[in-house]
């Protein structure tokens, strides 16, 4: 359900999204393709979101620096800190405000452009 919601939101903004229903699949997709941003929902079967973030950051190529946004319903007090510590760039809490999502994505792209390029 969440992939669908996010997917539709990104449609509104004119962005394209590829979804993966598990962290393992997601990591594989990142391996094989180029993406501008990674959105991770912490509720996944198998490997959990935070471990997935660690895997991405542990890469030895440019993709280790991929912008990562965490989307979660978990409101534990230290969750945001934990995610950012492990390498996430931003944490959004459900229910997600569409504007907040776009804003976060835009800012992340800008940061990437700071070191890289916009195109």
């Amino acid at each position: 359900m969440n992939r669908r919601v996010v997917g539709d939101m990104l449609d509104v903004a004119g962005a394209t999204m590829t979804g993966a229903e598990s962290a393992e699949l997601g990591l594989k997709l990142i391996d094989e393709n180029e993406y501008a941003i990674v959105l991770i929902d912490l509720r996944m079967p198998g490997m959990d979101g935070i471990t997935a973030i660690r895997h991405i950051r542990a890469r030895h190529d440019a993709k280790a620096g991929l912008p990562i946004i965490v989307v979660t319903a978990d409101t534990a007090v230290d969750l945001r800190e934990r995610c950012i510590e492990q390498g996430a760039d931003e944490v959004l809490f459900k229910p997600v405000a569409m504007d907040a999502l776009f804003d976060a994505m835009g800012r992340m792209l800008a940061k990437a452009a700071g070191d890289g390029m916009i195109g």
Binding site: M1, N2, V5, V6, D8, M9, D11, V12, A13, G14, A15, R43, A73, D74, T75, A76, V77, F93, K94, P95, V96, A97, M98, D99, F102, D103, A104, M105, G106, R107, L109, A110, K111, A113, G114, D115, G116, M117, I118, G119
Partner: protein
């Protein structure tokens, strides 16, 4: 499986409480003759009413009304008690004939009267039991539990053990209704612990305890309890009670597969359940007999018997006692191939199940909520005990010390010294033991406190978490839908309603989470400079519109308000938002006002309304979590009752408090009192040439956000436009200093160059430079773009720093501009 015995014991309950209703209190000190006479007449009238209550409730109503008339001839407290007693009896009688509409106001009135008549007596407790019964009948479980609790506490305090047991019994029945058998058993056990003196009460406890055990699958113990109940029923020579237990036993035996035993029990049942008034019981036994036949695979017999049980009943109008009958009937008819009949009973089953699951789930939810309220109460009681214990410990310690010093201070007189020392040592030791005992108690209480608190917090946090996920689906999609420009007005309206409801839900969930955080001390309050007037103005704006829609005046008075203070803007907004929300909710006409003033070294923010007002005795209550002024408020106005609790908690966390002053029918004022720490206003934002803006033309919200983030450092105010029309509009408004156009937006248009030309013309008339981001233009493309009148073309891809350079720093723009003009 439904609890068939539920209604019966409750009626019995009322019967039981009646049997020991209080007779009138002391007569007033007046001419003895007349008062005594009136008193006697009153007693007689009450006795009359009670005598016929069980058999002829309607007459009982009349007689109780007579009693009330007589009571009005008395004076002072006896008069109040007398009237209340008579009204109570009337209420009870109405309940017996299932007339809750008449019973309720009578009982309420009586409760109000005795509340004023002095410290609680048995009558107070009895009235609360009756009201609890009313609430149970209307499935208002939280209120029922509350009333039973209060009744229990009153009976406990005045030492009425039997009634106390009845209160516990009533609570147990509530839990049984909600299918929480473990807790029900707990309360039955408690009731048994404290009172075994009345066979009827014992019977009720054993019977229902057995049912609960049966539901939990503990058939052995269940049967033991049933047997005990049976004995009592026989002692009391009540065939109806006997029959009830026998049917329960038979049911259990059938469940356990003990067919021969069930057969014997059923025969016993038939033997007992004869005579008038036993039809319902006999029908039950026919059903059981049919079940037995079915189990023995004697289908014909089963069909005969089950038809007999329903022969005098309309299956479409049955109530819960026959649910089991329907179930068995369905199975029998299906096996026998009579689908038509099977369907009839299946439909009846569904009807009854719908009813009861609604009841059970509402009961369950209410009980869960009530349990947390209860835990709250327990916590509070434990806290009080803890403070008291602490006081006791301190006191004992102090005493011990005094004794010591007395003992030591008396030197010289040996005998006295020895005596005193001995005394001192003994009492010291006793005190020490008491202190140790109190300490153990304290530790245990603290432990219980901790557990209760943890349970509540966990529940709150989990609930909030679970609700957020589906809420994401709802709000996510409504946002997506509302972003669709092709939506019709009507559809947009409707989706707007869903969206608004989702937003409200999210606010409620956030509130719940806040309570959890506050309870566990996980709340952090900021202390940074904030613009008070702006913050309050923001919140006011949100509600001004709502007030206008409702036709209520809104006054914002910040004249006397300090400008910059230190504090937590977000939390302050939250409190004021909550208070304004309440103010508007409870006001139908008049005005709502928000004021802020400095009072010495404190800040006072007042939210006042001209609404229904709050009674003084409820002032403290409304600030408790999950509490509203009364149950009706939730129904009428909605809400979880969390807002004020959070407001107060937040205010207290900030070093202040929230207080209320109110007048019924006139209005209420909520005052937020906070420490006033003035702050220095930060330097006004410097950049951006005197308030003019950078206009970014981009139709994608993501790239809009990205571009803004990239130029933030230099740009000052940033405006957006998503289309050519919007761009021209904004240019004409004169607020724009320069324009940055994203190529994707232009490339999506049918005639790119024309669009660019339009923008460029509008820009030139406003004396504004235009910069266009374009993907790697070659020579001719570049020229073509410039020809439209665009001042500057910036090639993509480009990094952030370079972009800023091109836009603001480098002179190349003007150079190019000059060059092209010169050429």
């Amino acid at each position: 499986m439904r609890l068939i015995d539920l209604t019966a014991p409750l009626t019995m309950l009322f019967g039981l409480t009646l049997a020991t209703a209080p007779v009138i209190a002391q007569p007033a000190p007046k001419p003895a003759l007349s008062t005594a006479q009136v008193g006697t007449r009153f007693d007689a009238a009450i006795a009359d009413a009670k005598a016929v209550m069980m058999l002829d409730p309607v007459s009982a109503i009349a007689r109780a009304r007579d009693a009330e008339r007589v009571a009005r001839g008395l004076e002072g407290r006896p008069r109040m008690i007398g009237i209340a007693t008579a009204q109570w009896l009337q209420g009870e009688a109405y309940l017996r004939i299932n007339d809750a509409a008449h019973a309720a106001p009578l009982i309420e009135r009586a409760i109000r009267i005795v509340a004023k008549a002095g410290p609680p007596t048995k009558l107070n407790g009895d009235l609360l039991l009756s009201r609890g019964g009313l609430h149970t009948a209307t499935a208002n479980v939280a209120s029922a539990l509350d009333d039973y609790q209060q009744a229990h506490n009153i009976f406990r305090d005045i030492g009425e053990t039997r009634s106390r047991a009845l209160a516990l019994l009533s609570i147990a029945l509530l839990y049984q209704e909600a299918e929480d058998y473990q807790n029900a058993l707990k309360y039955y056990d408690q009731a048994l612990d404290i009172y075994r003196g009345d066979p009827q009460v014992l019977y009720t406890i054993y019977n229902n305890r057995a049912n609960a055990l049966k539901e939990l699958g503990r058939l052995g113990p269940a049967e033991t309890q049933f047997r005990k109940a049976l004995e009592l029923a026989r002692e009391l020579k009540s065939p109806a009670m006997e029959a009830r237990v026998l049917s329960n036993i038979a049911r259990g035996q059938l469940l356990a597969g003990q067919l021969a035993a069930a057969d014997r029990t059923i025969s016993q049942g038939f033997a007992v359940a004869n005579g008038p008034g036993a039809e319902v019981a006999r029908d039950q036994f026919w059903v059981l007999a049919a079940n037995l036949a079915f189990r023995k695979n004697d289908l014909n017999e089963a069909v005969k018997l089950i038809t007999r049980s329903f022969s005098k009943v309309d299956p479409n109008n049955t109530t819960l006692e026959l649910r089991e009958g329907h179930k068995i009937a369905y199975e029998i008819f299906r096996k026998a191939g009579d689908d038509a009949q099977a369907l009839v009973h299946l439909e009846a089953l569904k009807r009854l199940d719908d009813q009861t699951s609604r009841l059970a789930s509402s009961a369950n939810t209410s009980l869960v909520a009530a349990r947390f309220d209860f835990a709250n109460q327990k916590t509070r009681i434990a806290q009080l005990k803890a403070t008291e214990l602490q006081r006791n410990i301190d006191f004992e310690r102090a005493q011990a010390r005094t004794r010591q010093s007395i003992a030591l201070g008396l030197s010289g007189i040996v005998v006295v010294i020895v005596g005193m020392l001995a005394f001192g040592i003994v009492t010291l030791r006793r005190s020490r033991n008491q202190v140790r005992a109190a300490n153990i108690d304290l530790a245990a209480t603290n432990d219980a406190l901790g557990k209760a608190l943890a349970a509540k917090t966990e529940f709150l946090a989990t609930t909030s978490h679970e609700i957020r996920t589906p809420l994401n689906g709802i709000l996510g999609m409504t946002q997506v839908m509302l972003a669709d420009a092709t939506l019709t007005e009507r559809l947009r309206d409707r989706i707007g309603v869903v969206h608004g409801a989702g937003i409200t839900m999210r606010a409620l969930v956030d509130d719940i989470l806040d309570v959890a955080k506050m309870e566990t001390g996980n709340m952090t309050i900021e202390q940074i400079p904030l613009d008070l007037k702006a913050t309050l103005g923001d919140v006011a704006r949100l509600w001004q519109e709502q007030a206008k829609i409702k036709g209520i005046g809104f006054v914002l008075d910040l004249e006397q308000s300090p400008a910059w203070i230190e504090g937590d803007a977000a939390r302050l907004r939250q409190i004021v938002f909550n208070l304004l929300s309440n103010a508007l909710k409870f006001t139908e006409r008049g005005t709502v006002a928000l004021r802020a003033t400095a009072v010495g070294d404190r800040l006072a923010i007042t939210v006042s309304d001209s609404g229904i007002g709050i009674p003084e005795e409820k002032y403290d209550l409304i600030f408790e979590s999950f509490r509203q002024v009364d149950a009706g408020t939730t129904r009428k106005f909605g809400g979880t009752g969390l807002g004020l609790a959070i407001c107060r908690n937040l205010a207290q966390a900030m070093g202040g408090d929230v207080r209320v002053a109110s007048e019924i029918g006139v209005g209420s004022s909520f005052i937020i009192d906070l420490p006033l720490i003035p702050a220095i206003a930060p330097e006004a934002e410097a950049e951006g040439a005197a308030g003019k803006a950078l206009l970014i033309v981009d139709r994608s919200p993501i790239t809009r956000s990205m571009l803004r983030a990239m130029v933030e450092a230099r740009a000052g105010i940033v405006l957006f436009a998503a289309s050519v029309e919007e761009t021209v509009e904004k240019l004409q408004s004169g607020q724009v200093e320069r324009v940055l156009i994203d190529d994707a937006t232009i490339k999506a248009l049918p005639d790119r160059l024309a669009a660019l030309a339009t923008i460029a013309t509008a820009a030139r008339s406003a004396n504004v430079t235009t910069s266009l981001l374009w993907a790697a233009p070659d020579e001719s493309e570049h020229a073509g773009l410039r020809a439209t009148g665009i001042t500057q073309v910036i090639a993509k891809p480009i990094g952030g720093a370079a972009l800023i350079d091109k836009l603001y720093i480098s002179d190349s723009v003007f150079a190019e501009h000059l060059v092209s003009h010169a050429a």
